[in-house]
C-alpha cells in the first residue's frame, strides 16, 4: 500500500499580503499586485510588474530577526517559512527534508563584482542560508527547473515521502523581479505593455512578479489541507524556448497525473493553469486541455494577480488553489476579456461558488518542461 501524501501547512509572501488570508481577501476582491513602475535600475523604460514593497518587507523581517546579512529574496523566503515551521511543530530531524525551488535565486548578487557577492549568487549558498536560519539537519535539495520549479517540488516531495525516505518535506519557492529577468523577457519581446491578460484575444505577453510561497508536504493526515494524489513532469522534446504546438508534454503530464490519481477527466472541478499570457503558451495550454477533453472544466490563471513569479508561481498558485477548493469558490481569471485561444476553454470570468473535490495544477517552462499535479479535497472527519 502506497503511503498517502498531504499538504498540511501553507503560506505566501506577495505584494498582495504576507499571509494566505490577506492574499485570498485581495484575490476575492479582484485586487491585483501588478502596477506600473519607473525604475531605471530595473528597466530603461516604465514597465508593469508585481513587486513587494521594501519597507513592508524589512519591517516584517525585523520582527523575526535582527540580522542584516540576508538578501531581499532570503528575507521573503524566511518570512514565508517561519510561521509554518513554527505552527507545524515538526522536529527538523533526519526524516524532515528541505526543498528550495527557484529559477534565478540571488542572481542580483552578480551586479556586484566582489567574490563574496559572486558566492551568494550560487543556489546552494542561498539554500544553506535559509536552511541554517531554521536549523534543518538534512542537506537542502535545490530544484531549478525554470518555471515549473515550484510545482515540481510538490511532485518530488510526494515521491520522496511515498518512498519513505522522509516523513515531512518543507518546500520554499521564491523568485525576485530583477534587471536580469526583465531584460531577458524583454529581449524575447515577451513583455506585456499593460497588465498581462491570460488567454485573452489582446494579450501581448507576461507581466513579471515576485513572491515566496511555502508549504509542508507530509505523510501525516492530521490538519491536512489537501491530498496530493497524482503527478507527472514530461518534457516536450520540441524546443528550448517555445512550447510544443501540440502541447504534447503538458498533455502527457496531465494524462499521467490523472492516471496515477485514478480519476477520469470528468471528475476535475477546477484547473489552476499556467497562463503566462504569451501568445504561444496560452495557445499551447488550450490545445493540450482540449485534446484531453477538459474544455468545460473551469480554469484560471493567477498571473493577472501576481504576474509571472517564475519558480515561485507553481507553488504560489497551488497555495491559492487549495484555499479555492476548501472555500468552494472559483476565483476570477483577472485580466481576461475575450477568448483569444483557438480551442474553447472555460475561463472563470467572475468569482463563483462551486463545490470543488478535485483540482489540477499545471505549469510549463523554458527547456520544454511541464508539470501536472492532481489534488483531492480532504474529507472532514
Amino acid at each position: 500500500m502506497m503511503r498517502e501524501v498531504y499538504i498540511t501547512e501553507t503560506n505566501c509572501i506577495t505584494p498582495l499580503g504576507f499571509n494566505v488570508k490577506s492574499n485570498i481577501e485581495a484575490v476575492v476582491n479582484g485586487k491585483t499586485g501588478i502596477q506600473q513602475h519607473e525604475d531605471s535600475s530595473l528597466m530603461p523604460m516604465p514597465f508593469y510588474a508585481s513587486i513587494i514593497n521594501n519597507e513592508e518587507l524589512n519591517s516584517a523581517f525585523e520582527k523575526i530577526s535582527t540580522s542584516k546579512k540576508y538578501s531581499r529574496l532570503e528575507k521573503m523566503m524566511i518570512l514565508a517559512l517561519e510561521p509554518i515551521i513554527k505552527n507545524s511543530g515538526i522536529e527538523l530531524n533526519s526524516k524532515t527534508a528541505f526543498i528550495l525551488s527557484t529559477t534565478k535565486g540571488n542572481v542580483t548578487a552578480l551586479q556586484n563584482d566582489s567574490e563574496e557577492s559572486f558566492q551568494n549568487a550560487h543556489l546552494d549558498v542561498l539554500a544553506k542560508n535559509v536552511s541554517d536560519f531554521f536549523g534543518f539537519i538534512t542537506q537542502p535539495i535545490v530544484i531549478s527547473n525554470a518555471c515549473v520549479s515550484g510545482i515540481l517540488a510538490v511532485s518530488i516531495a510526494k515521491r520522496m515521502i511515498q518512498s519513505e525516505l522522509y516523513d515531512n518535506v518543507f518546500i520554499i519557492a521564491g523568485d525576485e523581479v530583477s534587471e536580469f529577468v526583465l531584460s531577458g523577457f524583454n529581449s524575447f519581446q515577451a513583455m506585456s505593455d499593460l497588465p498581462c491578460k491570460p488567454y485573452s484575444k489582446n494579450r501581448t505577453g507576461v507581466s513579471l512578479g515576485e513572491a515566496a510561497a511555502a508549504v509542508l508536504v507530509s505523510a501525516e493526515a492530521k490538519n491536512a489541507k489537501i491530498k496530493v494524489i497524482g503527478d507527472s513532469s514530461i518534457n516536450d522534446a520540441n524546443h528550448i524556448s517555445g512550447p510544443s504546438r501540440t502541447g504534447e508534454g503538458l498533455f502527457r503530464s496531465i494524462q499521467n497525473a490523472l492516471k496515477e490519481a485514478q480519476i477520469d477527466t470528468d471528475k476535475l472541478d477546477y484547473i489552476s493553469a499556467h497562463g503566462t499570457a504569451t501568445p504561444f503558451n496560452d495557445e499551447m495550454e488550450a490545445i493540450a486541455l482540449s485534446r484531453l477533453g477538459l474544455q468545460t472544466v473551469p480554469v484560471n490563471s493567477l498571473k493577472g494577480f501576481y504576474g509571472h513569479t517564475l519558480g515561485a508561481s507553481g507553488l504560489l498558485e497551488t497555495v491559492i488553489a487549495i484555499e479555492s477548493t476548501n472555500q468552494n469558490m472559483l476565483f476570477e481569471s483577472i485580466g481576461f476579456d475575450e477568448i483569444g485561444v483557438s480551442e474553447e476553454i472555460n475561463i472563470i470570468q467572475k468569482n463563483e461558488v462551486k463545490n470543488i473535490e478535485f483540482f489540477l495544477k499545471t505549469a510549463s517552462g523554458f527547456g520544454g518542461c511541464n508539470t501536472a499535479v492532481v489534488f483531492e479535497k480532504v474529507k472532514s472527519n
Binding site: H122, S144, R159, S163, G184, S187, S232, H239
Partner: protein, 205 residues
C-alpha cells in the same frame, strides 16, 4: 513502495580533456579550452547535429556525455521512457555571468535572447530531450557537491514507481572553463557489469 533492485548499466566521465566510457578512455587530446575540446570531441564521434554549436558550454557538456550513453539505447520512432536527472554546483552561472556583463554597458544595451535562454540549468535537459526525442520525466538539482545518495535514491523512486524505464542521472558542472561531467544509466534490468560499484565509487574513479 516496492523497492526493486536497480542496476548501473553504463557510465561516462568527461574531465581534463578526456572522455572515459565504462572505464575506458575513448577520447583524449592535449590540454586546450572547453570550446576547442568539445568541438574536437563532436568531430571525433562524427556527431551530425548542427544545433550543438548554438549551445552554451553546460549544454554542450551534458549533450556530449548523454550522446555516448543514449545513442546506443534509443530507438528512433519508438517511445523511449528515459528520465533525465542531472545536478551541479554552479547552475547556469557561467552563462549568467556573461549575460549580466551584457547588461552593464548602458550605452550599448542589447541583451541577447539567445544568451538569456541558457541562463537556466535545465535547458541542457531540454537539449538532450530534443536530441533523443525523450518525452520523459526530467529535473535539474543543485547541490554544493555531487550527492550520490540523493541521485541514487531519486533514480530508484522513478524506476520503482514506473515513471521511467531507464534513468540517465549524473553531475554536469561547468564554470569558467572548469568542468566535470559524470553520467550513468540505471534501470531495473539486471546488469552485473558494475555490480560491485555505486554511483559514488564510479564518480570518484
Amino acid at each position: 513502495m516496492t523497492q526493486n533492485k536497480t542496476y548501473i548499466h553504463d557510465y561516462i566521465t568527461i574531465q581534463n580533456n578526456e572522455i572515459v566510457l565504462n572505464g575506458t578512455s575513448v577520447f583524449k587530446i592535449d590540454p586546450t579550452d572547453f570550446a576547442d575540446f568539445s568541438k574536437q570531441a563532436y568531430r571525433n564521434f562524427e556527431i551530425q547535429y548542427p544545433k550543438f554549436f548554438k549551445m552554451d558550454a553546460l549544454s554542450k557538456l551534458a549533450f556530449l556525455g548523454s550522446e555516448l550513453l543514449l545513442s546506443p539505447i534509443t530507438v528512433a520512432d519508438k517511445e523511449n521512457n528515459i528520465a533525465l536527472i542531472l545536478a551541479n554546483k554552479s547552475s547556469s552561472l557561467d552563462t549568467d555571468v556573461k549575460y549580466q556583463e551584457s547588461l552593464s554597458n548602458k550605452e550599448d544595451y542589447f541583451p541577447s535572447p539567445a544568451v538569456f535562454v541558457y541562463t537556466l540549468p535545465n535547458i541542457c535537459l531540454g537539449e538532450i530531450s530534443i536530441r533523443h526525442q525523450l518525452k520523459s520525466e526530467n529535473s535539474f538539482f543543485i547541490f554544493d557537491a555531487f550527492n550520490p545518495e540523493f541521485m541514487s535514491n531519486y533514480s530508484n523512486i522513478l524506476l520503482n514507481s514506473n515513471k521511467a524505464d531507464v534513468v540517465l542521472c549524473g553531475w554536469v558542472e561547468f564554470f569558467n572553463d572548469n568542468y566535470k561531467a559524470f553520467l550513468c544509466t540505471i534501470s531495473s534490468e539486471e546488469n552485473l557489469k558494475h555490480k560491485n560499484e555505486t554511483i559514488n565509487t564510479l564518480y570518484n574513479k
